[in-house]
């Protein structure tokens, strides 16, 4: 990362350099530099710039990791090992949020006995909550894992977890809690799944360059994908990336219609996503930029929508459930999709109607699905390029 930065800094600086001396040697050097800059800019021109945008926890970084897995070398053992501390931190943070949450619910709700832990579990909870507040977490040992498991299985904690939408419990909670045994192994090395599930808030900007070479090696496009943080404070940095963007991949977590923002617990996540999407669509820089809307976290959505009606969210308040089971899920999904479609056309000025807009149903954790989706994205963008060049 640092090397990319310095490289780019170098190219910027040299472009502004003035050559006043008439020294022949220096002239030759200058010519060489000029030639290389030209070469570089030429190469840059072919690189398609993709931005991953969306609110916090919408799955941008998971998509980013998937792209790394699919089109780059993936994660080697050393890289996967570097995720041990992240996975363990997720475990400790989850149990702390749940334990503290159960205490809060026991105090603030009328039905407080539901959230009261047994005495011995309370001791464990206090201890784990203290660990979860620390700066450095201890390595997850068998004993700690057992204690976490005991606490996790406590009825009060499960009751609290069922109200997780009020508490900022990460999506990975269930997955990691089910795998405690494996995670606490002394020789534990995170698997590909563990890495994908691991939750870290992105801050700043991260980028990778890749080329989605398919089986038949036909595709030659080079993409540079930028991943950003999604919380409100991070969005002021996005503007630095807005120039010359081929396509925006906008992630919207459709399962979060009953949750509030990490950074502002008075705001519904879906409402925030709606406003954010609108804002991004209206950016003057994006008049010709293609929009790929990923309606993400479909796996959680299909489970949730049968239990929590879609109309708890203000944006979807005119939703009427029609049936049950699979049909109902499809109906709810189509409803959400239509809302986003309407929003797109409302927020698109008449002079940028010819930009591409596609909606994809995704689960960022599902590698096959992401691969398929990205293939479609790639195809769309190449078609668009040919069209722009007048070849189609």
């Amino acid at each position: 990362m640092l090397s990319i930065v310095t490289e780019r800094m170098g190219s910027i600086c040299s472009r502004h350099k003035h050559y006043r001396e008439a020294d022949a040697e220096e002239n030759a050097q200058a010519a060489e530099i000029e030639r290389r800059i030209e070469q570089e800019t030429k190469a840059e021109k072919h690189i398609q710039k993709l931005l991953l945008l969306g609110a916090g926890e919408s799955g941008k970084s998971t998509i980013f990791k998937q792209i790394k897995l699919l089109f780059q070398t993936g994660f080697d053992e050393a890289e996967r090992k570097s995720y041990i501390s992240v996975v363990h931190a997720n475990v400790y943070q989850t149990i702390k949020v749940l334990y503290d949450g159960s205490n809060e619910l026991a105090q603030n709700t009328t039905d407080s006995s539901k959230y009261a832990l047994s005495v011995e579990n309370k001791d464990i909870g206090e201890k784990l909550s203290e660990i979860g507040g620390r700066l450095d977490y201890p390595r997850l040992t068998k004993e700690l894992a057992n204690e976490i498991e005991t606490l996790w299985k406590d009825a009060a904690i499960q009751e609290t977890y069922s109200r997780g939408n009020e508490l900022q419990v990460p999506d990975c909670a269930h997955y990691f809690m089910d795998n405690l045994e494996r995670l606490s192994d002394a020789n534990y090395v995170p698997t590909k799944e563990d890495v994908l599930y691991a939750r870290i808030r992105t801050t700043g900007v991260v980028e990778i360059q890749f080329s989605p070479v398919g089986e038949n090696k036909k595709s030659g496009e080079v993409y540079r994908l930028f991943d950003v943080g999604g919380q409100r404070n991070e969005r002021r940095k996005w503007i630095h990336l807005f120039e010359g963007v081929t396509a925006v991949i906008f992630c919207a977590a459709i399962s979060e219609y009953d949750q509030t923002l990490f950074e502002d617990e008075n705001k519904n996540r879906m409402m925030e996503t709606k406003e954010l999407f609108e804002w991004v669509l209206k950016q003057p820089c994006f008049q010709k930029t293609s929009f790929m809307l990923f309606l993400n976290k479909f796996d959680i959505f299909e489970k949730k929508v049968l239990k929590v009606p879609l109309n708890v969210c203000e944006w979807f308040k005119d939703y009427q459930p029609v049936s049950t089971g699979k049909q109902e899920i499809e109906h709810a999904y189509e409803f959400v999709k239509k809302k986003f479609e309407e929003l797109y056309f409302q927020s698109t000025a008449p002079d940028c109607v010819d930009r591409v807009f596609k909606i994809y149903r995704t689960t960022a954790l599902d590698q096959k699905l992401v691969k398929k989706t990205f293939k479609l994205v790639d195809e769309t963008l190449r078609r668009r390029n040919l069209f722009e060049a007048g070849l189609l």
């Binding site: 990362m1 640092l2 930065v5 570097s82 501390s85 992240v86 931190a89 507040g133 620390r134 700066l135 450095d136 900022q168 870290i200 808030r201 992105t202 801050t203 700043g204 900007v205 991260v206 943080g229 919380q231 409100r232 404070n233 991070e234 002021r236 940095k237 630095h240 509030t260 923002l261 990490f262 950074e263 502002d264 617990e265």
Partner: protein, 400 residues
């Protein structure tokens, strides 16, 4: 002199109007000069609006006096010369009441932050209209009951409650100032406040006397002329003195007119005189850095912190490191110096913690609320949880 005492336009009246005009121009210069000359960045929120409202209220006060008690001679009566407009509405809720309310809001903020050591529980854009309500109610009552005579003067019975309202607000301001008198402010806020109050209470005293004389004896011409002369002059001085009082914006008031000093205070840490804050000195020996140490230990090293900050800035993730740096500076201020700690804490909150701050950091709602609702701004662990949360993020920036 006989008729000008009644209808206005005496030479002394013109002198008074000229002086008040001069005072107002001086006030405008004083308010805008730091921004025009030194390009001081515009403060945000109440720090900007309260002074603007004060200037507006000052203008209203002076204008209302000129208009309501016959300084100028008008040939014809116009509808906009209505007594109730000038003597009641512009003088009260839009003039004197507004001016004092602004000051009370500022003194209240200082009182809460430095004496109670917490952020004011009520936002100033809400507090200001609230304490202005008695003035609006009073003006409405006067207007409804039509208690002014044809010369714009109050009926005697009403003078006492009106003067009482004026003095109550002065007393409230004095009260808040007394409450913060033992705080040793870093940037002479208190000295300014006292100086301001001294000048303003004296002028308010004289002003009230002149006001009462002017209101009661409206049959003696020379008394009318003298008292209204005094009234306007005192109001002009009051307005000017009021604005000179610092409004607890340390960096701004420090930088106001002395450019040479401005460069010395690039950071709040330096303005507060925290030892070896700010930039790295070249002659400092470079201690060995062991890259295997945890990040929080490494960050204690200034050289490491500076280069890590530059790196994080380059990936647009710098605000966390800057926040760490300033909290680190805060930790250097001894606990027995709460005033300096509060200055620094407030600066950090305004720059990094408030929603929408220029360098807002990526922390959870809970941690932000915990800081904003703190019962003690000088507490050593005020930013502890937020910092822990951010160190987790910084680790990831470092490992990318």
């Amino acid at each position: 002199m006989g008729s000008c005492g009644k209808d206005g336009g005496c030479p002394s009246d013109y002198i008074a109007v000229a002086i008040s005009l001069l005072c107002f121009i001086l006030l405008l210069i004083k308010a805008t000069l730091p921004f025009l000359v030194h390009k001081v960045p515009r403060p945000k929120g109440s720090g900007f609006w309260i002074p603007v409202i004060q200037v507006f209220a000052s203008l209203n006060l002076l204008l209302s006096i000129v208009m309501s008690i016959n300084f100028l001679k008008f040939k014809k009566k116009h509808w906009w010369q209505s007594c109730y407009l000038w003597a009641v509405w512009v003088e009260g809720p839009l003039g004197f009441g507004l001016l004092l309310s602004c000051r009370i809001v500022q003194a209240f903020q200082l009182y809460y932050i430095f004496v109670k050591r917490r952020l004011p529980p009520i936002r100033s854009y809400f507090f200001l209209p609230t304490i202005l309500l008695p003035w609006i109610a009073g003006a409405a009552l006067l207007h409804k009951k039509k208690r002014l005579n044809e010369r714009c003067h109050l009926v005697t019975r009403w003078i006492i409650p009106v003067v009482f309202l004026h003095t109550t607000y002065v007393a409230a301001l004095v009260g808040f100032t007394v409450a913060i008198r033992h705080i040793e402010f870093r940037f002479h806020e208190l000295k300014d406040l006292w100086r301001g109050i001294l000048v303003s209470t004296t002028s308010v005293g004289l002003w009230v006397t002149a006001y009462i004389l002017n209101e009661i004896h409206d049959d003696i011409a020379w008394l009318q002329v003298t008292s209204r002369f005094l009234l306007l002059i005192m109001a002009s001085i009051l307005v000017l003195a009021f604005f000179s009082m610092s409004s607890s914006q340390p960096l701004l008031s420090k930088m106001s007119l002395r450019k040479r000093e401005a460069t010395e205070f690039e950071t709040m840490g330096r303005a507060l005189g925290i030892p070896d804050s700010g930039l790295l000195l070249q002659q400092e020996p470079a201690p060995d850095i062991d890259p295997n140490e945890p990040l929080d230990k490494l960050l204690l090293n200034k050289r490491f912190r500076q280069s890590f900050m530059a790196f994080a800035d380059s990936c647009l993730a710098g605000e966390s490191v800057h926040f760490y740096d300033e909290v680190h500076e805060l930790a250097k201020i001894p606990v027995n110096d709460p005033v300096r700690r509060i200055y620094m804490a407030r600066h950090i909150i305004e720059k990094y913690v408030m929603a929408g701050a220029t360098m807002e950091v990526n922390i959870s709602h809970r941690n932000r609320q915990e800081i904003l609702a703190t019962p003690d701004l000088a507490h050593p662990d005020l930013f502890h949880n937020a910092l822990n949360e951010l160190l987790q993020l910084m680790k990831m920036v470092g490992s990318e």
